[in-house]
């Protein structure tokens, strides 16, 4: 094929090439983000996301949104200000979830035989959609950080509750009360994860009694705002290094 044949010669051809380009970029973006975001999330959220007996109403609720708002903020910064595309957060989260599901299904279940109902990932989609919607409606990264970030933290627990509620049903086991999730953690032996490293139900929110989940969610939302700002600037910086053009 000669060079001249690949040049754009008509408008229809230009549109076609542009569309091919669209899909290639989206595909690349999806998988690059998937790889980076997945590793980042495993290193920071790790066990909280791996196991149902870590999904508590204090620390999981606090940690998961804070460490997962990172890539969405950065990718939004790039996609919105360069292309006015409002799907940065959702693309990130869909990438992450795909990677997580592959990992959980192939490694946790397929290779090590942990039941999937014990090691499924957390649901981050509701927060991501809202984050994108807020960005589109406000066209302001400050508003997205403040309103979107807070919402992202607040929606996390209710968004996951329908999935984990059945696992919080209590069981009496050999004279001790525990939840089904606790029992999963006890039954399905993890030699590398002794019980004492489990960081659940710890913290200084005792005075709030039963209503600790909303308080944790608010706290998480506030920190998510700060993390959003931080990663927004990472994203801006990354987008302005002519990364896309250099391709």
């Amino acid at each position: 094929m000669s060079a001249s044949q690949s040049a754009v010669r008509s408008r229809a051809e230009a549109v076609k090439v542009s569309r091919t380009f669209d899909w290639l970029i989206l595909f690349t973006l999806f998988f690059v983000v998937l790889g980076g975001y997945h590793i980042h999330y495993m290193l920071t959220g790790g066990d909280w996301d791996f196991w149902t007996d870590w999904k508590d109403r204090r620390l999981w609720v606090t940690v998961a949104p804070i460490v997962s708002i990172t890539f969405p903020a950065a990718v939004q910064a790039c996609l919105w200000w360069r292309y006015r595309l409002p799907f940065g957060a959702v693309v990130c989260v869909l990438g992450l979830l795909l990677g997580e599901w592959i990992n959980r299904y192939l490694n946790f279940w397929g290779w090590t035989y942990f039941p999937v109902n014990f090691c499924f990932p957390s649901n981050l989609v509701p927060g991501a959609i809202l984050l994108d919607v807020v960005l589109l409606m406000s066209n302001s990264f400050v508003a997205t950080a403040v309103v979107g970030g807070l919402t992202y933290g607040l929606i996390f627990y209710p968004g996951n509750w329908p999935i984990i509620a059945p696992l919080h049903v209590p069981v009496e086991y050999n004279g001790m009360m525990m939840t089904i999730a606790d029992l999963q953690g006890y039954h399905y032996v993890r030699t590398g994860t002794p019980e004492y490293i489990r960081m659940v139900e710890k913290g200084t929110l005792r005075t709030f009694g039963k209503d600790v989940a909303p308080v944790s969610a608010f706290f998480s939302g506030f920190v998510s705002i700060l993390i959003y700002f931080l990663w927004h600037f990472f994203g801006k910086w990354f987008a302005s290094t002519k990364f896309v053009e250099s391709v």
């Binding site: 990992n103 049903v169 009360m177 391709v247």
Partner: protein, 414 residues
């Protein structure tokens, strides 16, 4: 354009590779075969496992077996390892090939971490239910916070049958019996698929229209605001409102369906009962101890005083789970793992019965390939080259007395 397209395609391929690597990156620790790599002093001077019994060597899927025995929390616990104030009775198996149906220390169920005390002996039992067929090395194991896993002896157990027959029924406090193997699974899949689908829908809505190149040109030309139409805004509003409504409704529904839920249970279990060990009437002094590298034998000079009222003989030396026996005095009837059992491994220069009130100095040799196989001999390269172990003395009636020893060890290379 072609070159650029090729470049993007190449980059996509690289990205795909990165992704696959990243996804394959993590598997939860499944193997417990670190027993030999753990420093010898850790195995000799922390937890001494004894009287171990694996109730079965072959077990069918859904059947249970127990591992029971005692462990002595060594009084001369090494300085470099955190004390077992927060520890967890684990089991060393390659992933959930068995489920841990129960575990007890001193009769107390220990699904959570416990506080143990130095110098105490505890009785333990772990109940395992076979889940996945295969030959598995089943180890006793205690995790100590700040000390890591302390792996005890392991024995090969064969699980027969098929994993698809495995059931794990549990009855909740609300009176429902569920199978933990599959409980809630369809609910997990449903909600994840639902939300993933909704997310995709959002992306597809925008991806239908031209994305990167034309939009970038428009933004650069200062026409960014024309890229979002009033219809787009309405769709976005609908998505936003829909998400909030779905979360609220589904949350309300699950609260209705599961009115009784409790927080995860956690916290340290204290007050674990140790067993009263009978007072010993034997005094043992280690005069010296050497390890002869070429002979794979440890030799110690012991001065033994019998302060009791019946004659006694030395039957066993146990260190790091390796048992050296004098077969004339003690035999193993529990089916202890072969590689950890030296049935004739203990030689005593004079092992005739030591009468009450008498004192005798003897040469004791513990020799077996296990010194090398289990890398116990590496002890001589440790910064604090001490060894420790348990001596078992027997009287004619079969009564047993346990004495702990702890002394420096000098290697000899000739």
């Amino acid at each position: 354009m072609k070159i650029i397209k090729d470049k993007v395609a190449k980059l996509s391929f690289v990205a795909l590779l990165i992704t696959i690597t990243a996804a394959m990156f993590y598997t939860p620790t499944a193997s417990a075969h670190g027993e030999k790599s753990k420093a010898a002093f850790m195995r000799m001077r922390t937890i001494h496992w004894f009287d171990l019994n694996w109730s079965k060597e072959e077990v069918a899927v859904n059947d249970t077996m127990t591992i029971s025995g005692k462990f002595f929390v060594f009084s001369g616990w090494p300085e470099t390892v955190d004390k077992p104030e927060i520890s967890f009775l684990n089991i060393g198996i390659p992933g959930p090939v068995f489920i841990r149906a129960g575990s007890w220390i001193g009769g107390q169920l220990v699904p959570r971490s416990v506080s143990l005390e130095l110098g105490e002996t505890y009785e333990f039992k772990v109940l395992l239910k076979a889940r996945r067929p295969g030959d598995w090395h089943v180890h006793t194991m205690l995790n100590v916070k700040g000390g890591g896993p302390i792996i005890g002896p392991g024995k090969w157990v064969t699980v027969t049958g098929s994993m698809s027959d495995f059931r794990n029924p549990v009855t909740t406090l609300t009176g429902e019996t569920v199978d933990l193997e599959s409980y809630n699974l369809s609910n997990v899949y449903f909600w994840h698929a639902f939300w993933y689908g909704l997310g995709l829908l959002w992306v597809v809505y925008w991806a239908r229209k031209p994305m990167f190149v034309p939009r970038s040109i428009a933004v650069e030309a200062g026409k960014a605001d024309t890229l979002i139409s009033p219809v787009d805004k309405k769709v976005a509003m609908a998505f936003g409102a829909g998400v909030i409504a779905i979360v609220a409704i589904s949350m309300g529904q699950s609260n209705e369906q599961y009115p009784v839920t409790t927080p995860l249970q956690a916290g340290l279990l204290r007050g674990i009962k140790s067993i009263e060990m009978p007072a010993t009437s034997i005094a043992v002094k280690v005069e010296d101890a050497t390890y002869r590298v070429p002979g794979r034998a440890m030799q110690m000079t012991l001065t033994i005083t019998n302060n009791g009222d019946s004659p006694i003989r030395l039957g066993e030396f146990n260190t790091a789970g390796v048992r050296f026996l004098d077969s004339a005095v003690a035999q193993d009837e529990t089916g202890y793992p072969d590689d950890l059992l030296a049935e004739e491994g203990l030689t005593v220069s004079d092992n005739s019965a030591l009468a009450p009130g008498q004192t005798r100095t003897v040469q004791v040799t513990a020799s077996d390939a296990a010194w090398e196989v289990y890398r116990l001999a590496d002890l001589i390269y440790d910064p604090d080259s001490r060894f420790a172990g348990l001596l078992f003395f027997y009287d004619a009636a079969g009564n047993r007395q346990l004495i702990t020893i702890d002394a420096p060890l000098i290697p000899t290379f000739i």
